[in-house]
Every structure is written in structure tokens, then in C-alpha cells.
Homo-oligomer: 336 residues x 2
């Protein structure tokens, strides 16, 4: 009871069942037909000894680990978690296990983590919204297949999935315009994020196409986190910049904006309309529920995984990622 159990090895089983190691291996893998008597004996021994093959050894031999590496940027962000759920579900029953590491929004750390995964001999990599250059990704892809989200990529060994941010932002802004809003504030994402910039572009295009001059005062900097949304609203209010609607570059900053509005007694949607981007799981339960641009995070994770599996020769990349769509809930309202 004191010392650790020493797990049985395949050789132990073979000995116990009175057969050769190869026979046990063959039974474990269904590699070849085996006489029924021996098969029974081996199965019994496996059962009795609680034998589980050492994956480490098997991997070393076969050259593949049945493991995929997932690189996220923040291990506790609903954005990544929802995508991870898609990944996880797609992996279920395939025999693959995932190991997830975080790049913490830092290109160097990201590369380090990928090197770590490579040293651990993952069979493939899924990179979620990385900061590193496409070239670097392609470089890594020479060693192992990579599928990345948030970028366009198409080369043997690397595929990318990208959501139409510009369009999403366009329809969100247009929704606000259609509702009669003219002074629509925009809370940006980090300047370095292409997702964020594309959303800004969509916002601008919608304004332009409606013949509304973009007032640069209405564009306030944010960083995709709650607090920045809150600060953005404080800024607008403090400077007396009028607005009847706010479009936040992501849901998290919309949450922050909502709080700041609440604190200042500005009602949503009665006084100000609010739209987010992402449609995080929680956005359905804010009070009031948030109108937002739905990004198919779960499906994205799923599709990325399927694509990787297909790169690994295990499946077809059947899944099509649904497009972004506006989901109108209760934070927007007509003015007239």
C-alpha cells in the first residue's frame, strides 16, 4: 500500500498469457488475426493485470503521438474557451488528445510554446488568433501541419480560417443606422489586432454608405477587455461628446461600456443603444441581453480541428464555418 503500483507492461502480459509480445501487440492493435485460444488468454491477462499500453513507448515507435497542440492567447477568456469547446468536441472519439498552451498575446512566447509543442512531438497544431507573422507560421508548418484562425493561409501543411470581421461590423453599424442612430460611438480593439481593425473598417464603411460623416471623436480606443469599454464611455461622457449608440469591437468591452452607462444613469436601450461583437455565451444573459454580432466560435474550433485532422489524413474537412450574423437582442432600440 505504501509504494506506487508499477503498471504492467506488454511483456508482463505476454509472459502471463504464455505468448510472445508481438501477439499481445497484435491483439491490442487488431493488426493481424490471432488464434482464439491465445486471444482469450491474452484478453484475460490484460483484464487481470489492468494493462494499459504505454503511449509514450508506442509513440516513439510509431512516430506519431496522437496529440494535437492548441495555442490560445488567454486560457481563461470566454472567447477562447468557446472555441476550445469546439475543438474538444471535434476531437472526441478520434483518439487524439489536445494539449493547450497559451501565448499570452505575445509573438515571442507564442513561438516558444510552439517549439515546446514540437519538441513534445504533437502531430499537428491549431493556432488560435496568434500574434506572430504568417511567415513564422509557415515556417513552423514545415515541421508539422498547422491550422490557424484569424488569418488567410493556404499552403500544403497550413490552412487558415478567417471570419468576415468587416462585414460583421458593417451589418452591426447598419442595424444601428437603420434604427435611426446618427451619432454612433465605436470602441476599438487593440491597434495591433487585424480583427479589430477590420471591424473598424466595417463601421466606417457603414457610416460612409449612409452618408454620415465619421466623427473621429466618436472613435475611442479600447483593448478588448471590460475595463477599456468602461473607460471609453467615461471618456465620452466626461468630454461631453454626444452619442445615442455604441458599437463595441467585442462583447467584453461592451460589458464594460454597459457598466459605465449604468453608473452614470444612462439607460440601455432607452437612452443609448449598445452592440457588441462575438456573442459570447454570457451575452445572452446580461441584463438586458446584448445585441451583438455572432461569431461562430464553437464551429470555428470544430472546423479548424476537422481541417487539421484532414491534414493528418484522418478526415475530410467537411465543416463549413457559418458566416457572422447579427443577433438582435435587447440593447438596441429605434430612435425617432
Amino acid at each position: 500500500m505504501k509504494e506506487r503500483d508499477h503498471p504492467a507492461t506488454l511483456v508482463d502480459v505476454a509472459r502471463a498469457a504464455g505468448v510472445s509480445p508481438s501477439t499481445v501487440s497484435r491483439i491490442m492493435n487488431g493488426t493481424a488475426r490471432v488464434a482464439d485460444a491465445k486471444r482469450q488468454a491474452v484478453l484475460a491477462a490484460i483484464e487481470r493485470m489492468h494493462f494499459a499500453p504505454n503511449q509514450m513507448a508506442r509513440s516513439l515507435k510509431k512516430g506519431c503521438t496522437m496529440t494535437v497542440g492548441i495555442v490560445v492567447q488567454d486560457i481563461s477568456s470566454p472567447f477562447f474557451d468557446e472555441t476550445l469547446r469546439g475543438v474538444d468536441d471535434a476531437l472526441l472519439g478520434t483518439g487524439y488528445t489536445s494539449v493547450v498552451v497559451s501565448g499570452h498575446w505575445n509573438a515571442d512566447e507564442e513561438a516558444d510554446r510552439i517549439r515546446l509543442l514540437l519538441a513534445r512531438k504533437v502531430d499537428g497544431i491549431i493556432l488560435l488568433t496568434g500574434r506572430m507573422s504568417d511567415d513564422t507560421v509557415l515556417q513552423f508548418a514545415r515541421e508539422r501541419p498547422i491550422v490557424a484562425t484569424g488569418r488567410q493561409l493556404r499552403s500544403p501543411g497550413a490552412v487558415g480560417f478567417k471570419v468576415d470581421n468587416e462585414h460583421g461590423a458593417f451589418i452591426a453599424t447598419r442595424h444601428l443606422i437603420d434604427a435611426g442612430h446618427r451619432r454612433i460611438a465605436f470602441i476599438t480593439g487593440p491597434a495591433a489586432s487585424s480583427d479589430a481593425n477590420e471591424r473598424l473598417a466595417g463601421y466606417r464603411r457603414a457610416l460612409r454608405s449612409a452618408g454620415i460623416d465619421a466623427d473621429h471623436e466618436l472613435i475611442v480606443e479600447g483593448d478588448f477587455h471590460e475595463h477599456s469599454g468602461q473607460r471609453a464611455i467615461e471618456h465620452l461622457l466626461a468630454h461631453g461628446i454626444a452619442f445615442s449608440a455604441v458599437f463595441a469591437a467585442n462583447d467584453l468591452s461592451a460589458y464594460g461600456a454597459r457598466l459605465a452607462l449604468y453608473r452614470h444613469g444612462v439607460r440601455v436601450p432607452e437612452d443609448v443603444s449598445l452592440v457588441g461583437f462575438d456573442d459570447l455565451p454570457g451575452s445572452m444573459y446580461t441584463a438586458p441581453p446584448l445585441t451583438t454580432v455572432r461569431q461562430p466560435l464553437y464551429d470555428l474550433g470544430r472546423a479548424a480541428t476537422k481541417a487539421l485532422l484532414s491534414l493528418l489524413g484522418r478526415a475530410r474537412p467537411d465543416d463549413v464555418v457559418p458566416p457572422v450574423e447579427l443577433v438582435v437582442r435587447e440593447t438596441t432600440r429605434c430612435v425617432n
Copy 2:
């Protein structure tokens, strides 16, 4: 460019540098002093060939994989994610990597996942809030060290961390009572969850100690998810059961309760006070910010990890988990 790069092996490096494999190994691991000339040659070769040792092979040889397995129940729940963040941070720089799997709140699946981890030869396991019996945990602990949260456990090879749910619920309820509330509804968690039941017990004790009769109509069933909180409030309202405060067994169900209240025009905190349990990262940004019992999720993850590392002989379990505490924000209010 077409075919995959075949990573260099230690033997390749040795050959290129004109030394024996052992020498390369010694340099990689700092296992012994090596003549400077050879060291330089080897280092150069490593650099040039982009050599990274195959962790798989190393693990097979050394019998340890420098990997720990983490079992969660829901891969995209803020509750687990916050804990995971603590785990991740504690692992940083230790050389250990984590692989996280989900038991999906199901004892059998949980056991399966643990067996998977064991087959992959993780060095240790962290089990977050499992459903399986303590005995089963102890059984697995015979093979590899396990640290579990949400249960008391103390045996060589297994340690548990448990938060004082009863006390947390007690102080939350007492806070409401002190604010003058008498009809305090309680939204339970799943009947099978000991965390949930302990919270119910704390609620009851607070009522009792204040001389308030517990009205069983005020105790409504929930399941820790948003929707159940919403339904609980609908139920109360539909049946005309009066209450001036709600204590939800966790933050998620408090969010749902908040939404239902909003939908029915019941103001929080003006008409009804609301308290949650957990203090998820988002609870600070709800409108209004949620009063809740803070559970030190991050620290719990950290402490569990430290404890595991110490079981692995790598560190002392220095961290003490801070106790639960009430954080009063803006969803509660005095009645009088």
C-alpha cells in the same frame, strides 16, 4: 519545400559535431563537465541543425514525462477557467506542461479520462471538482499522485483542497439578514453536488441563527447554470411567493436570476437584493456589479498545483488558500 522536415536527432548532432551521443546528452542536460572545444562544436551543431530533443524518447527513458493531467468538468466555464489560470501560472517555468481533459460532470467519463492520462504517463493529476467517489480517487492515486479540489483527502499520494462552502453561504445570508431582509429565496445547485448542499446548509444555519423560519417555498431548485436561475425566479414570481432578496448558489445562476428579474421589471437592488457565490471574473462587470461570495479560484488552482509539485518532490506546498469572503458590490441593499 514539399516534404516535411525531418527533425534532427541527438545522434545526428553527435555525428555532425564529431562526438559521441552521450556527450551531446550531457551538454543538453548539464549532467557532467565537457571540454570547452567539444561543447562549442556541439552547441554550434545544435544551433545549425535546429536540434530539439525528442521529449517522447526522453520520457520513455527517464520514466517521467514532465506532464501533469488536469481534469475539469466543463472546458468553457469561467469557473474552471479561472482555476486553470492558477494552475497554468504555477506551472510556468517548472518545465511541466499540462494536458487538460474534461469529465463533463460524469463520474464514468471522468474515470475514463483519468485512465487516458495515466496511459499517457502523466506524472501527476489534478482533479477539479470531480463527481467520482473518494475511493476511486484513492485508487487512482496508487498509480500517480493526485490532488483534488472540492474534497477532503489526505493519504500518501493524494491531497484534497476544500473551500468552506457552508461558511461562505452563512456570511452571505447573514449579510442579507443584517440588511433587514427576512424573505430570502435560495436557488440551489444540483442535488448531487456537495458544494451546493453545503451552501444550502449555510443558508439554513444563518436563517436559524437569526430566528427566521425557513420557508421551504423560498428554496428553489437550480443546477448552477444561468437558465436555471432564470427559471427559479420565474417560478417564484408565477406562484406569487414573496421575497425581498435572492441568494443564488453560484454566480451563473445569479446572472440568470438577474435577467428574469429585469424582464419582470423588478429592480436590483432597489426592489430585490441579489447575492451570488464564486465571484467569477465577470461578476465585477455585471450591471450592477454582483455582490457575491468570493471563492479564491485562481489561488486554489495555484495551491493545488504547488501541492502536486511537492508530491512530485519538486517544491514545497507553500501556498495557503485564502478563505472565502463576502465581496459586497451593488446588488444588495438595506430594506427598512
